[in-house]
Symmetry: C2
Subunit: 334 residues, 2 copies
DNA sequence: TAGAATATTTATATCGTTACGATTTTTCGC
DNA sequence: GCGAAAAATCGTAACGATATAAATATTCTA
């Protein structure tokens, strides 16, 4: 049999569609016994509201669109953490009417494109995206269109939007402090381009630590931008085959740390000994390295969870200015 | 201004809603110049069809629901490959009316639950799930409900359903052959429980190789079930601290391979030398190990892509019996 | 118990889209 | 240039849900 609708229940109970509709949502204009009768019938007939009908009539949209940066080849750098993020997102939607739809941001694509697409095709009641930039046109766009959105990552804009972020300033500071306290005299930061807010924040944290410890850190010289590097192993091997290489490295992820470690070993160095390492991570993978290296762990499950709860609040009329959350990372010294 | 609808375009062009509707989908009952006029207007007004209205009227549902096994803690084993899969899925939906929604399968949860939920709440026009079992009740259920679905992984059931799979029999065979040809006299297979079809297939491949090479392989003794192992490193260390340990290992993923390698090194062994390794992988991570280990690479992007194309065909009336695809893995000897 | 006030239920219109049948306009034969 | 056939366009109804206003049933007051 086809799907049960309000009409089915109405015929089944001998009531009108309107009454059935109100009974099911506990409207206070329906007599208690009627409500019970309707609910029982709904149960028996396996009724579930048709989202298209509901959405069309009310304008509500229980779809939340997460825009994920995707990869085409076997590139794995961005991979780790994604499932945790999705897990956190979907977990928060559990037992709500909301659900998650995913739109890809393809490599090299203008990040505004999928956002525009989601809005124009009315795909979602709210939008979540990451890799925010200090000045992010997606924020401007969505703010203007009055579409609820939460970002994973902060901006430096005057617009007061909802966001969830990891404390990258703190991460940079603690990572650098860790290396300096081990005696490093010259460290390098493996980083994304500084157009991304998180990369910028992390740099600032490192910079502060460098000043506190009196060890110079130069933005131009000591940041290694990862977008230019295809093969970490080869890059690090070459870097360390010459003199004057850093004696401490902050890796952007546990994956890049694997490349770094192999490159160091190729060059005859001893990771963790003559070159100190620390990585920003989302898993316990670094505890499995030989030797294990310390990591600043970000909890992407938690981030996803808060993102989802925030977008629901926003869709239901919440105030963006009150929906801001910054999470600290945890240091694991394996 | 609110969203442009067919009505907006109709008023703008002075035509009727019906004509506009047909003009936009290139119906052959509309004069060419009219079509152009309508399309131009749609462009200018930024028209995008309202999916709720469309779905309500046609009964079509352009949502495809992928059910993903999720994780709660920092467990990373299942993580790698997920983004590639999603990337492949969404890429195939690009420039179609379809889009991807994600439902979680929580750890330890009955896998039928999210499937039932998706069907009962009418969340999707089609469903995709993985980790198929030899006898899978989700297949029975969806077949009975007549909801289009494609599985990532085969079953051993009489039901003729659409699937995409990696050739795990071939993977097992080639992985084991690789180890045997290097002279291994006793190998172990790190595997999921054999309730999963893919694990079963892989075992069968290994078994065949063992018979061809005349090296015994015992299902009970030589398969190491990973679900029981919390810490690979510790487990392998202990295994190799005694005698009589395997001289060859087939790792289920590059992630478990990292744990295996560290455990071997802890135990004073030399991975790749006194213990040969090979891993089933979805990335080039194993090329970054010290030493690099060979890997049988599965292309999850491609799998996702075919899954998506198949589910579209099914939703549009295709025959499940004709939608079967098995992809070979590629051996990388780094 | 009549009349008013309240409680409960129902009919109608609408969201955006498309299928169907009806209507208008154009083309064509002679 | 007239009527018929063909082409193009239009009006209405329907998908499933809810908001609003209208209608009916019940309770209460005096």
């Amino acid at each position: 049999m086809a799907h049960a609708t309000l009409k089915t229940i109405a015929e089944y109970t001998g009531l009108s569609v309107t009454t059935v509709s109100r009974a099911l949502k506990d409207g206070d204009d329906v007599k208690a016994p009627t409500k019970e009768k309707v609910k029982k019938a709904a149960q028996e007939l396996g009724y579930a509201p048709n989202l298209s009908g509901l959405s069309l009539r009310t304008g509500l949209n229980y779809s939340v669109c997460a825009i994920l940066p995707t990869v085409k080849d076997g590139d794995v750098t961005g991979d780790i953490g994604t499932l945790q993020l999705i897990s956190g997102l979907t977990a928060a939607f559990d037992n709500t009417a909301y659900h998650l739809t995913v739109l890809p941001l393809k490599e090299g694509e203008d990040p505004l494109i999928p956002v525009k697409f989601a809005v124009e095709s009315n795909l979602a009641g709210g939008i979540i995206f990451n890799l925010t930039r200090t000045n992010d046109e997606r924020v401007t766009y969505l703010n203007e269109k009055k579409v609820p959105f939460v970002t994973f990552g902060q901006t430096e804009m005057s617009v007061d939007h909802a966001y969830v972020d990891v404390d990258n300033y703190d991460i940079g500071y603690r990572a650098a402090s860790h290396l300096f306290s081990l005696g490093c005299k010259r460290i390098a930061l493996l980083s994304s381009q500084l157009i991304y807010t998180y990369a910028w924040h992390k740099y600032y944290g490192v910079k502060r630590a460098s000043m506190e410890y009196g060890v110079p850190f130069d933005k131009e010289r000591d940041i290694i931008i990862d977008s230019a590097i295809k093969d970490y192993r080869k890059f690090i091997r070459q870097l360390y085959s010459g003199d004057n290489a850093p004696d401490g490295l902050i890796c952007g992820s546990e994956i890049s740390a694997i490349g770094v470690m192999s490159g160091l070993q190729d060059a005859g160095r001893h990771p963790g000994e003559d070159v100190k390492l620390i990585c920003v991570e989302t898993s316990d993978l670094s505890s499995l390295f030989t030797p294990p290296i310390p990591g600043l762990r970000q909890d992407f499950y938690s981030v996803g969870n808060v993102l989802a709860r925030y977008i629901i609040k926003l869709i239901e009329g919440g105030n963006p200015a009150e929906l801001k959350y910054i999470e600290k990372a945890t240091l694991y010294e394996h």
